[in-house]
Symmetry: C2
Subunit: 639 residues, 2 copies
Amino acid sequence: MQVARHHRTIITDVAPSVDGGQWPARRAAGETVSVMAGVIADGHNKLAVLIEVRPPAGEPTTQRLKLRWNDEYVGSFACPTPGRYRFRISAWVDEFATWQDEFRRRVEHHADAQEVTVELLTGAALVREAARRIAHPQALERFAEAMERCEASAALDEELSQLMRRHDRKRGATTSRWYVLEVDPPLAGFAAWYEFFPRSASAVPGRHGTLDDAADRLDRIRAMGFDVVYLPPVHPIGTTFRKGKDNSPAAAPGEPGSPWAIGSREGGHTAVHPELGGLAAFDRFVGRAKSLGLHVALDIAFQCSPDHPYVRKHPEWFQRRADGTIRYAENPPKKYQDVYPLDFTSEEAPSLWIELKRAFEFWIERGVRIFRVDNPHTKAFTFWEWCLGELRAKDPDLIFLAEAFTQPRTMYTLAKLGFNNSYTYFTWRNTKEELTSYMTELAHSDVAEYFRPNFWPNTPDILHEFLVQGGRPAHVIRFILAATLSATYGVYGPPFEHVDCRQHPEREEYANNEKYEVRHWNWHDEESLQPLFQRINQLRRAHPALQQLRSIRFFDVRNKHILGYCKVSGDSRIVCFVNLDPFHEQAADVVLPLDYLGLSGHEPFTVEDLLGGGSFTWQGVWQHIRLNPHVMPAAIYRV
Amino acid sequence: MQVARHHRTIITDVAPSVDGGQWPARRAAGETVSVMAGVIADGHNKLAVLIEVRPPAGEPTTQRLKLRWNDEYVGSFACPTPGRYRFRISAWVDEFATWQDEFRRRVEHHADAQEVTVELLTGAALVREAARRIAHPQALERFAEAMERCEASAALDEELSQLMRRHDRKRGATTSRWYVLEVDPPLAGFAAWYEFFPRSASAVPGRHGTLDDAADRLDRIRAMGFDVVYLPPVHPIGTTFRKGKDNSPAAAPGEPGSPWAIGSREGGHTAVHPELGGLAAFDRFVGRAKSLGLHVALDIAFQCSPDHPYVRKHPEWFQRRADGTIRYAENPPKKYQDVYPLDFTSEEAPSLWIELKRAFEFWIERGVRIFRVDNPHTKAFTFWEWCLGELRAKDPDLIFLAEAFTQPRTMYTLAKLGFNNSYTYFTWRNTKEELTSYMTELAHSDVAEYFRPNFWPNTPDILHEFLVQGGRPAHVIRFILAATLSATYGVYGPPFEHVDCRQHPEREEYANNEKYEVRHWNWHDEESLQPLFQRINQLRRAHPALQQLRSIRFFDVRNKHILGYCKVSGDSRIVCFVNLDPFHEQAADVVLPLDYLGLSGHEPFTVEDLLGGGSFTWQGVWQHIRLNPHVMPAAIYRV
């Protein structure tokens, strides 16, 4: 008989977990984690269900879970610090509690004296058995004696219950696997990102900006309420096959090239482009950001220009064609001759992996904790699992944003492998149906356990038609959606705030793209969206409901152009309406989810208009909303 | 570096599977199993995804899965015989197919001659590498030579593609775990059961029926179209604390007792009650059933009357109270003194387990393949997992119906442990909302992979108020629902077909319950529901759509009393409407799911009325239906 005969309990559906515990679930530090386990046993016994939690540092804790209903046992634990938590569930038949429960029912239903006597002796035998196993059995022995003297009240004494619970022999116990919970720094769960190109930061039009110029922009970015400044790659840019303006195949003399064509004789992934001011300027930039309470996110793009030092020193890290030349990036018939991909799976990969991890460590040592990783899905998955795991083991405060605009399974798998922020399809989800269905997947499916979306209305690579056509109202709509639907979001700032949405004639991206040329922005434009950015970021900070994703509920708005949703966190209750039509005023009757908001349908309640200002009183589920996109396409209410 | 660096593929979401492969999925013999695996790799490579299937006997087979969309690879395999199938998925980057795909695009987009040359040499190197690894490399070498001579057409030759596919070096291959698929006999997936008490089968009122009397009922049961005859326990019945009529605590002299109080001096679980005619009569009964194409299901209730031989021979298999007496079944304050539970988890359990398995084997040797297991949830789960596994390893044709009317997790877990039929909550699901939501759970959630419902409108233990109040129309409604919603169903026949629905004054069960007394039925009653049983069972046999569960779809019927659903299997398309109100005629506009039925909204289609007879022509999604419960509360159409 190979079956573990003594196991009487079966543990199922443990939450949080991902694919039955195959991958870690993800939370942010400071959260309280709700735990659930389905536990059954044969018969009608009382069960003991225990959770054992091992935090990344300090002592393990144990706690009993409580029966909620339908064999679901629930509890919670705090995860105050980032790092890798582990937990497992044990369950067994609580013999004495089962005996007590039956005994109580016998007494309540006036069992006859002989039955009570026999049962008290049966219970006393359980107590005696426990007493024999422990060092200080006196208390248990006193209870056993009382029960043997037929004192029914002794059998149900609270002290006895606790002693027997503590010294349960755990018959039929089953223990689950260890489940892993990756607890991220709070900023992984709630942050507003601002992206800009430092080389466009000069105060002087036409001049190549430096990281010192960029540092001069930080006060303004902080004033707008952002948490993270994200810089495209700051490394030396290759000259061989350098791209020109608007991605033309060859750069004219003096053109700066794409920051993603990394590496030149001045260095590679651990160097700073001389025109940006070199490493010293970078350190000053990080210092300035830190003093303002801003966090710096660096772009990590593991690819090389033909001029990258790796090409000379480690030709074995690249693929070769049959003519001996190094294979450049291509997706036939498209050629990207300014970029050599690295070969993550060759025989030489181990030294490459170690070198690339070192590149991360280099920037971590210089104070960077946040990395936006370019195209992780074109590099070996095993590399990321290894590299992010190693880095995080030393420094659990790290944030990695995956820039993988690819098919859903790959995006979700990268999150399982360790990316704790991800770009999303938000950029292309514009209609009410698209937004509702996508948000439901992100917030209410299994995905919510491990994939943390970072919503971007635009990037240097993506300028959606909706922004192009809809102009300023469309920008306001998309910004408010990003910042209120998702707890982490970002914006490629300068063109967005200035509503510069001229599109490249052939691509879904900006014309005069900063990827290929230095731009100059008016940092003092009175007409910019700066006040909107500031106000929305203020609201996000003030209202905990906007600092998380999973409580979102969409509700019934009788107009296909108006999206209505609410978020709840403790006492913080926020209701949003967004008119998705950037051209026309839209109005609708709406059915408020009063139950979910903790309100009764009968009593009036106060609603504070957080964008328009003022308060008013509502009553009942039916309300009416009217939104003019040329004034303000959204309404945000505190309820 | 502990990471398996060479693994480039990740396999996710394999279907069919249960809890990520922790438990077997379940199918019936003769089905074609659709398989799906999500597979991703870094980059934009062509992947090879292979399924390897190990049938219970014979050679393993392998097959490539095909990319459907979004990284989903699909295929199917047949499972013609019952038994335990295993399958696993392997996936790797198909280097040569990836190279060919890029090469094809280069040629299509007129790559220059030098590029084509270099790429042909690169491809030729892959071919040479394969040639070096195989015994008969000549064909590959010829292709390599042609490619080296710059013959582009050779590179895309179909023979080369196949050779390279066969001899792929499987770089970066990943292999999934083995997934288990329990393939049951067809009768587990599609069957109509008829339950009756043989002791009530005598042609002479007042006489205790025998199994020979019961055998005389089989022609009629077969004529009604049933597949399985299920008998309550046929073992000797205890006399100590024997229950009387209507479950009264003490039997009057001559009362027959409950067949579930098993065991007397005449024997236990491997004996037949003398008044039923003993083992010889049982064998004759099985033979008669077999000759008619009927299958016999026995009731297995692992509990003992105080008179059971086990009590004397194996007192160690029972629990004892402190006064030395054997503990009878109880749920305080209720006492079941006529029944001793067996102790499945004591130190003595191993010999008990072996003995109980022997009891199954005893009946299997006498030709029984189907067992209805009484209260499996009050016995150790590990016992069932072991016992059913051992029995099925010898005889994969077995069917075990779990009679566990308990909480959902326990019912579902028993299915995972090996019960391939289960009683359900159907008996208590009467409204449209209840039926729709329950059927959706059973047919369209994970549950459908392993839990096979057997729908019963009544049992000796359960007579629902709906049947009591609704009389004959309610019986017709519930019978048609059971037989058309579920592919396996059963009915506790005699009182149901005679619409004898007098309820016990205090319990949700029949008055004058056959559990405690011998009844006499008029087997020739012209008013019985026999013609309905016959007609519905005929339809089930004639229409494959009714022989499975998972294709069910409910559709929009604008009346809360009318349930509309359809099932599709190949060309077989059945649409059902059931008026759930046994008292009043109901009518409704309905929206037919024409797409799902493979029909266009523009063309008329023929509908055959399978209950009322005749055919007519419909067109469009909107139809109108009217059902009078006093005539026929349901309509079944072939479309």
